[in-house]
Amino acid sequence: MSVLAFSGFGVRYGAHTALVDLDLAVEAGEIVALIGETGSGKSSAALAALGLLPRGTHTQGRVERNGRLAMIFQDPQAALNPLQTIGAQVAEAVRIHQPLSGAAALTAAARLLAETGLDPARVPPSRYPHELSGGQRQRVCIAMALACQPDLLVADEPTSALDAATQAQVMALLVDLVRGRGMALLLITHDLLLARGVADRIALLQGGRLKESGPLPQVLEQPATRALLAHVSHMAIRNPATTPAAATPVLEVRGLTHGYGSHKVLDGIDLTVTAGEIVGLVGGSGEGKSTLLRLVLGLEQPQQGVALVQGIDLLHARGTALRAARRQVQAVFQDPGGSLDPRWPVWRSVAEPLHLLDERLSAAERRDRAIAALARVNLPADTADRLPNQFSGGQRQRIALARALVIEPALVVLDEATSALDAAVRAGILDLLAALADDGLALLFVTHDQAMIAGLADRVFSLKQGRLHLQPHDTPRAQ
């Protein structure tokens, strides 16, 4: 019996069609992967499965559900209540579905948390979400989803916010739990390699339409799948630029030291980025990568040291000097959900930095420039008037990149700016960045994707215990 069946199902947001005529069924105990590029309608299908489509959405056809459904979201941080212990949150989910006393529910919650691989000795249920790592948080979300004993689990990019090693662990756990309990799993991902490892059947979406669907070996033979696979192995490889000695540094960081309380996050950082150079910055979570970026961008005041953009200190410059310096540096932030004002149409967000130009532009001119910038990241002009909530995470990252490029700055700082992109789009964006660097743009790129940055950057530093370490250039390039 199908636990979930779409028949002739379509989704439309205003004038934008996200999903057309989808026929797809998930049988009990089956793992189905729904794959596709950013904006192919994957998440719309997931939301529709759970009846969570935003209001004002037009739908066609039918979704039938048999049995209980639970969902695991992409961003475990946003799915958890920061003010409640993880045990209490899982217990709450337990009690919604089982008439247990508070104490019994807590015991059940502790058992579920242990089942998801959270060792009670190291991560007891009395912890709060902020005390956990991303992978541990996602495990808590999985425990919450299991608490309602679902027949079908819908997982929307459950591991894409995690680093590679954690990704594999969490995925293995998820599959074990699903198989062990005879649940069905609808796995939504842009990562074909991930899907290939776990799914019984694969359904491939492209531009809102179901392109291929069937058992694994069969789908892998299909041209559309092969095209997607081909993109995965494509990786931008750039020859390290030979930096002219006289090049003016676009960014100069001297003795930057910063900390919270007695803990020193950054301890005397020196870093220079010259025009046309791509500098990679890697490091584990909590090593201060994001703090360094905020200091470089002048968003925070360092305890010691300075960050100069083309010789100007963003924190102390005023008036025209500040405007001139601000014009030279833009950023793409990690969180694709939070980096666009939810109440602004996309073009207004993209056009925002144009405010820094000396010439005064009319609204129509600003809109035109925004559309041109969107085109550079392969987004069509009709994206301009839509609101951010109508885009996928990957599309939002591209919109944020368009905003960073719209005034043609000298330096762009990227914080995990390609993490939400799927293979095909990422390859295109990396090519674009490499081309921009060849034209003289300096890039400071924070990432945990070692293989990607090794291929792209001229220099790669790792940040450990507050200090930068230059990585040898023969870093093995993973394929």
Partner: protein
């Protein structure tokens, strides 16, 4: 927009009903509001007087309609004034942080420390009774509410990445507060405003009841209650009608606020 919660619809309907009644009373009431007719006093409901007459022979329906205008007017004026002052203060506190935030929020704490109605009574006692002063008193104890709600919601918005992006785009704090933060806190503030309007209505009735609200002969629900209380044994209707009007109107606003917050939660 198509699916709205039941609470929202009921709240909106009640609020609309009283607003219309109040507006209608400005141009037409079944009887002249101040028309005293001692001969027809304390009559029960009839075709001529749907809700009967009071101890002076005035038509109760006309009084309730005119009272709606007074009560809603004072409540909305007070809430509106509090919004105009409180929201900018909260926004400024969230934008400036530091000493300005401390001063504003400790100031709000001080205002909060006084029971709202007590402070309103104190203020109207000092300034003299009357509709405008009642609205002022209501505004005064609502300012810290709006300042706090705005600040709390705004602090969250300030941490979002799009605010950082706006700073990189060269926008100043004031500009960011106006174009990014304010629109994003508006829904939350609106919900609070609806709830505060309900409480303000209650406060207005309370002030009128103790004689510090609108002065006779202008009608008011609170004073209708006060005047009728000695007659509760003879004509309980005279207490019930304004009492129910207050209850309904307050519930209307509270339901509206509740409904609005549910709308937001979707």
């Amino acid at each position: 927009m198509s699916r709205t919660s039941v609470a929202f619809r009921i709240g909106a309907a009640i609020t609309a009903l009283f607003t219309l009644a109040g507006l209608l009373a400005q141009v037409w009431t079944p009887w002249r509001v101040a028309a005293v007719d001692i001969a027809a006093r304390l009559q029960g409901p009839s075709g001529a007087h749907w809700l009967g007459t009071d101890q002076l022979g005035r038509d109760v329906l006309s009084l309730v309609m005119a009272g709606a205008a007074t009560s809603l007017g004072v409540a909305l004026l007070g809430t509106g004034a509090a919004l105009l002052v409180g929201v900018p203060l909260g926004l400024a506190a969230s934008a400036a942080r530091g000493w300005l935030d401390d001063v504003l929020m400790r100031g709000a704490d001080v205002l909060f420390a006084f029971p709202a109605l007590l402070m309103a009574i104190l203020l109207t006692a000092l300034l003299g009774p009357g509709a405008i002063n009642a609205a002022l008193a209501i505004a005064l104890f609502n300012v810290p509410v709006f300042a706090r709600v705005t600040r709390g919601a705004a602090l969250v918005v300030w941490t979002r990445a799009f605010v950082s992006a706006a700073r990189l785009a060269g926008l100043g704090r004031v500009r960011i507060a106006l174009v990014h933060v304010l629109p994003n806190v508006a829904p939350q503030v609106l919900v609070q405003a609806s709830i505060q309007a309900g409480l303000a209505l209650l406060a207005e009735a309370g002030l009128s009841y103790v004689g510090l609200g609108v002065q006779p002969p202008a009608p008011s629900w609170g004073r209708m209650l006060a005047e009728a209380q000695t007659l509760i044994g003879i004509a309980p209707r005279l207490v019930l009608v304004p009492g129910l009007a207050i209850l309904l109107a307050v519930s209307g606003f509270l339901l509206l606020g509740d409904g609005l917050s549910r709308e937001r939660g979707r």
